[in-house]
């Protein structure tokens, strides 16, 4: 009789939680408690205000001792939230934690149902199912796996950089993989940072070189992760090094090759400067690029087109660092944990055609203006229109792409603040009339509102209204040959046409184009809008549903620099806590073969995605390597002879749950499907 699993006939303690009013306001917990008391095997049945509280847990522990309970069932919130808490409680009470079962009557009942009677009936059914289930629970030993202390960080923006340094400074090995030729990400493109207005480069470049010089950090730029296998503690990643046609270890960034390039003047749009300046086929992204190594762009280099270049660059390099025949190389690394900090992509302003980006030459994106105001930018810090004039008036349009059902529903969080910053910088550089067109001004953050106050004092115009269109159609003389912004000044309640010489689009933040592929590769989820999904919005903001994989920065959602850095620190701490523990406990929900029943049909073997199942030819039976099994249970469901069982999800356990849920369903069904429930 399977109801005696090693510790005598079941003596069940049942506890239903009020969760304040969260559950009790919809489910009649007392009725549930009374009902469960009548079920076979139940010795104690109680309801309590907060089961997860210390007194709640002590209640369980004391009952175990006093009534010699050997099974515990708690009906409260989602097991994803508190299963661990109660298992520990049971363990403290001297019980094997896997004699515990949790029933979810909050997320699954009281929060989603309104009819109190129906909700209470549902809760009873779930409770009965749980009670019947624990009959079949068995004592299990937790599975432990060691943690490889190395960490891989994907993405070398400010988040990746900060996480890398934090972990490296703790003495752990870090592989920092960056897709571009240099680390620094978007922050490296910014001029000043709000609200303190300290120069982005001044605070970022020291961290960049710190990464380069830290012996614990292996920095791989111009490289991409191709494949990830394994699981928490021991991941195996394949990294592809893209050819930059320069031997990284030899190049010292003297840039002689650039001067020597057959192209005397630069004629290709410079990615880093948003195409506002030109570069040569051989180039270095920007002066403080890290590593200080040039690269060759095969798209534009003559030698790649015609193979008939004088190769003046090669002659010029006295270290023979240039190798135009480089190809992809692959490298495999083993790490225990992974941090994803792949960042964001600015909203494509062309998707908001009413603002005429790409149609009217003097409509700029915010990132372009960041480069314009930057001293090392294409205009050496002069704010000029594309026709080279100093603007007399500038309009900054907020929420471009954001808060719009047609493009992004979400608020991008940073645009209000960076628009204020740009307004200040533009005014400082040009003394132009600056207009901010905003829907709502959002300045939550230390010193942010004060920054807004400062701008108000500086005499910047703030017009509350979403701009309908930017047009070159002049209705009034003052609008001739300028851009006219048509907007309702909603605070005054009239429509206005405001002519300007320059329009700045505060484009929102959107997920990177390949976010979906990335999340598949790392087996994590995305939320609806396409940013990586955290395990819990409040309590596990940098964890994912895959153990050992953490997320930091704008890849999880729009974020400013302080928040990205904070998250990076958190992610690093999560990784370190695993590393320091040295091992991680896994659910013992693995599968195993009951050899005597196995018919050796081999149908399970191809099903296992982890090739944990092998075939023992000597005894003609299948064998499951527990270390490799992840406990999905696919093989269990497929085994024709029912000779595979999965811990915590054995057939009897699930059948008894089904049975318990349906007792007295509509018509009485007892006659048919009472599994051997009678208690000896």
């Amino acid at each position: 009789m399977s109801s005696t699993n090693g510790n005598g006939s079941p003596r069940i303690g049942f506890y239903v939680c009020h969760c304040g009013h969260n559950i009790a306001s919809v489910v009649n917990v007392e009725e549930v408690q009374k009902f469960v008391a009548t079920l076979p095997g139940v010795i104690v049945s109680r309801d309590y205000k907060y089961m997860c509280s210390d007194p709640g847990q002590e209640l369980i522990q004391n009952d175990i001792k006093e009534f010699k309970l050997n099974r515990i069932v708690v009906a409260s919130c989602s097991p994803l939230l508190h299963e661990h808490t109660f298992r520990v409680a049971a363990e403290k009470g001297g019980l094997n934690p896997y004699y515990f079962h949790m029933i979810n009557i909050r997320e699954n009942v009281s929060w989603v149902n309104t009819d109190k009677v129906m909700a209470t009936e549902k809760a009873k059914d779930l409770a009965r199912a749980g009670i019947q289930r624990v009959f079949f629970h068995k004592p299990l030993i937790k599975k432990e796996v060691p943690i490889n202390p190395a960490v891989m960080i994907v993405g070398g923006g400010i988040a990746g950089i900060h996480a890398a340094l934090t972990i490296a400074n703790a003495g752990k090995r870090v592989y920092l993989v960056e897709r571009e030729a240099t680390i620094g990400g978007h922050m490296a493109m910014f001029d000043k940072t709000f609200p303190t207005l300290d120069c982005a480069a001044c605070i970022l470049t020291p961290k960049m070189s710190a990464v380069k010089n830290n012996p614990n950090i292996t920095l791989w730029t111009y490289a991409e992760v191709e494949k990830v296998e394994g699981f928490v503690g021991s991941y195996k990643a394949t990294v592809r090094h893209k050819p930059r046609y320069i031997k990284e270890d030899l190049c010292v960034g003297c840039m002689d090759c650039i001067d020597a390039c057959i192209y005397k003047e630069a004629k290709y749009p410079d990615e880093f400067n948003q195409g506002l300046s030109m570069r040569k086929p051989v180039y270095i992204p920007f002066p403080q690029a890290t590593p200080q190594v040039v690269l060759v762009d095969p798209e534009t280099c003559i030698d790649f087109k015609s193979r008939r270049c004088k190769k003046t660059c090669i002659e010029a390099c006295d270290r023979d660092a240039i190798d135009l025949h480089q190809i992809d190389t692959y490298e495999e690394i083993e790490v225990g944990t992974i941090i994803l900090s792949t960042g964001f992509k600015p909203f494509d302003a062309k998707r908001a055609p009413q603002y005429g980006y790409g149609k009217h030459q003097n409509v700029f994106t915010a990132l372009e203006v960041e480069r314009l105001v930057n001293a090392s930018g294409p205009t050496n810090g002069e704010v000029l229109t594309r026709d080279g004039k100093k603007p007399k008036s500038v309009g900054i349009i907020h929420c471009v792409g954001s808060r719009d059902a047609k493009t992004n529903k979400w608020c991008s969080r940073v645009c209000c603040m960076y628009s204020l910053k740009l307004a200040h910088l533009i005014k400082e550089h040009t003394d132009a009339e600056v207009y901010n067109f905003y829907i709502d001004m959002r300045t939550p953050g230390k010193g942010y509102e004060e920054f807004y106050d400062k701008l108000l004092k500086e005499g910047v115009h703030f017009i509350r209204g979403r701009v309908a269109e930017v047009t070159d159609w002049a209705l009034m003389p003052e609008e001739k040959d300028r851009l006219t912004i048509r907007v309702e000044d909603t605070l005054i309640g009239t429509v206005r046409r405001i002519p300007v010489d320059m329009v700045v689009l505060a484009t929102g933040l959107v997920p990177r184009d390949d976010a979906q592929e990335i999340r598949r590769m790392f087996n994590i989820s995305c939320s609806n809008e396409g940013f990586f999904l955290e395990r819990h919005p409040k309590l596990a903001p940098v964890s994912t549903f895959t153990d050992g994989i953490f997320i930091a920065g704008a890849c999880q959602g729009p974020k400013d620099i302080p928040d990205s850095v904070a998250q990076a620190g958190a992610a690093a701490a999560e990784a370190l806590s695993l590393i320091c523990a040295g091992k991680i406990e896994l659910e013992p929900n693995t599968a195993q073969i009951i050899e005597k029943d196995c018919s050796g049909c081999k149908s399970c073997i191809p099903l296992c995605p982890y090739s944990a199942i092998t075939f023992k030819d000597d005894i003609q039976k299948a064998y499951i390597n527990e270390a490799l099994c992840k406990g999905c249970g696919t093989c269990v469901a497929a085994c024709p002879s029912g000779s595979i069982i999965q811990n915590l999800f054995e057939d009897e356990e699930i059948f008894s749950e089904i049975d318990g849920l349906l007792k007295f369903a509509g018509l009485e069904t007892g006659a048919l499907c009472s599994t051997e429930m009678e208690v000896q």
Binding site: P353, Q354, T471, D472, W473, L475
Partner: protein, 300 residues
């Protein structure tokens, strides 16, 4: 392909030239059409303002008639040249299909009149048909007199492209410009292609409507247009017939011909002017007529 043709009230009255020229062009391009028998007014914008269900139902009557007339067809193609009719009919299809309650009411009422509506109709705008079914090449081939050096401002107005039509971009439509190109003329790229002409306001509340039409004419002229072509009887009416009032009110001397795209096609395809209703225009498109071979004066 066989089409059903829904003229709408305006094309029988102020917009006669539109019907005449369009059908002439259809004939020339061998487009097989038949007029919906005993069609009724689509309800336009005004009807919606008094009673919505009625508005949808009377519009639906036309769709039901179409289904009756072409009962064998899997999908019935109905051409509605008038912008208002076109929009109303599409809107009716959309709303009836989206709201079962509304559909039920309407179908019930139609039954009273011995009709039925299943929703097999696809409402098409002539521009849509010409560009996507007939094709730009066929049209280019059909032209006899290329309209060399004629600058044409295509004016789409509101309801041809907004809000439910899908055959062209809602903010910067191109079909008419492509058509104009195919006729050998030069489309002018101007910003007010889809800006409202004032609609019925021009006639009823002149102080609001006239400025809108004025702005359009002014801007078209500023971009050097020799002629404005439209696909909407009301737009054509407002822009052409009120030019005297506009000149008086804003003391201008605008004299800009405003014609239907179908008339322009017809001229290029060497269809006699009478068949294109050229004699009905107030402002004679001199320059166009000159380039067209044998361009004798249009109307007496």
């Amino acid at each position: 392909m066989k089409y059903l043709y829904y003229p709408g009230c305006s094309l029988k009255c102020t917009g006669r030239a539109y019907e005449e020229s369009l059908l002439a062009v259809f004939k020339a391009l061998k487009i097989d059409y038949t007029e919906i028998e005993d069609w009724n007014c689509c309800g336009a914008t005004a009807y919606m303002a008094v009673d919505e269900v009625n508005a949808f139902s009377i519009a639906a009557r036309n769709l039901a008639l179409a289904e009756k007339q072409f009962e064998k067809e899997e999908e019935i193609q109905v051409i509605a040249p008038c912008a208002a009719c076109y929009m109303v009919l599409i809107k009716t299809m959309k709303y009836l299909n989206e709201s079962p309650a509304l559909k039920e009411k309407t179908v019930h009422a139609l039954k009273e009149a011995g009709l039925n509506f299943t929703g097999r109709v696809k409402v098409r705008h002539p521009l849509d048909v010409l560009i996507n079914d007939i094709g730009i090449e066929a049209i280019a081939k059909a032209k006899k007199h290329p309209l060399k050096g004629i600058k044409v401002a295509s004016y789409y107005g509101c309801q041809t492209v907004r809000p439910y039509s899908t055959f062209d971009d809602q903010r910067d439509p191109q079909t008419m410009d492509n058509l104009v190109k195919a006729l050998g003329a030069e489309p002018v790229d101007w910003p007010l292609k889809t800006r409202c002409c004032g609609g019925s306001l021009t006639g009823t509340v002149a102080e609001v409507g006239l400025p809108l039409s004025y702005i359009l004419l002014k801007e078209a002229a500023r971009h050097g247009a020799d002629v404005v072509v439209t696909a909407c009887p009301l737009c054509q009416f407002n822009l052409e017939c009120y030019q005297t009032d506009i000149n008086k009110k804003f003391n201008e001397d605008i004299n800009l011909p405003v014609m239907y795209f179908s008339q322009l096609m017809g001229l290029a395809m060497d269809i006699p002017q009478k068949e294109l209703g050229m004699q009905r225009l107030f402002v004679k498109p001199e320059k166009v007529l000159k380039t067209v071979k044998g361009g004798e004066p249009a109307y007496v």
